[in-house]
Symmetry: C2
Subunit: 191 residues, 2 copies
């Protein structure tokens, strides 16, 4: 997606340790006009899949998922990162590693909101090592719902996450795929 | 807001300890059609205030804030609940108590995204004891931005948060104000 690539080049900042800061428009401050363009792009990719629900993970996936859901006209469900006193009853749960924060946490969704009748599209802002997205795949699988695929804003294609998720037979569509990035060559996209 | 009150009566569940579960449409699974109605209601309340930015707090405020932002045509900024390795540089920070989770945490926003030129509308899903909303007020005050007010989905008017925030001179508009709720009388709204 040309618009997102241009925005990454314009406003993204590289930091040490393969970190791409896009907090001015994607995951701290959020450009809702851009999110609408991204939501429309996801809809064009998955509109023939009879999606019944969008599943994302807190926190930075929620904005993109909510805007995208307007095109699909379906509810959004977000996986929570710790057991909340406000979620009782049974939950689907799995473990996710955060490499950014260097810790492991449980993610949960209430069983009431995912079932074998659902056709689920995953949405998230980043795909790097793939732990969060694999966790979401686990939750969908446990529910018996059909996993339509995953719509990702930025994929770091030089890390293993995309391959790991695709090896599970999941269709992954990333709007901007970065094949390499460093201080010398800057940010290079895959076609 | 009639639509939200009706939805609370239809799909909300009371639990012990003044907990109202609205996780089927507001803060776990999210009804984006309803969010659009709420966003429009916030716009009608604050459209003459030249809002330049919407500020919310992760996680469940983000969806409502992003949908509402489409009416105001402004970016959304969300306060993060812990120091993230992805946010460097200087931040505005304050402490917030979560009574739901029974802990205190730091919330932060990057100084790059709030300044004295901003006119900020706060958006959140719940107002009960007011700690999160007071924290957001602190961040806006620290930045020198003008605080236009706060748009809240559900206010538990029988708890002290609304009074505490309004005592600071902040305009608080809640789409559904609950004046009492318990197993005997159910959920009662303020007019």
């Amino acid at each position: 997606m040309q618009l997102l690539q241009e925005r990454i080049l314009k406003d993204g900042h590289l930091k040490q340790g393969h970190i791409l800061k896009v907090d001015s428009f994607l995951n701290h401050q959020m450009d809702i006009g851009l999110f609408n363009q991204m939501g429309q792009a996801f809809y064009e990719l998955f509109c023939d899949q009879n999606v019944t629900k969008i599943l994302t993970i807190e926190a930075s996936g929620i904005g993109i998922a909510c805007i995208a859901a307007q095109y699909f006209k379906v509810p959004v469900l977000f996986a929570k990162k710790t057991q909340s006193a406000n979620i009782d009853g049974e939950v689907y749960t799995t473990k996710v590693n955060s490499f950014t924060h260097n810790r492991t946490y449980d993610i949960i969704v209430s069983k009431r909101f995912l079932s074998s009748k659902d056709r689920v599209l995953l949405i998230d802002d980043f795909l790097a090592k793939g732990s969060a997205l694999l966790g979401l795949c686990d939750l969908v699988q446990a529910s018996g719902a059909y996993l339509v695929g995953a719509g990702i804003a930025i994929e770091k294609a030089f890390q293993e996450g995309g391959a790991l998720v695709r090896q599970r037979g999941v269709r992954v569509e990333s709007l901007a795929k970065i094949r390499a990035m460093d201080a010398e060559q800057g940010i290079l996209f895959q076609d």
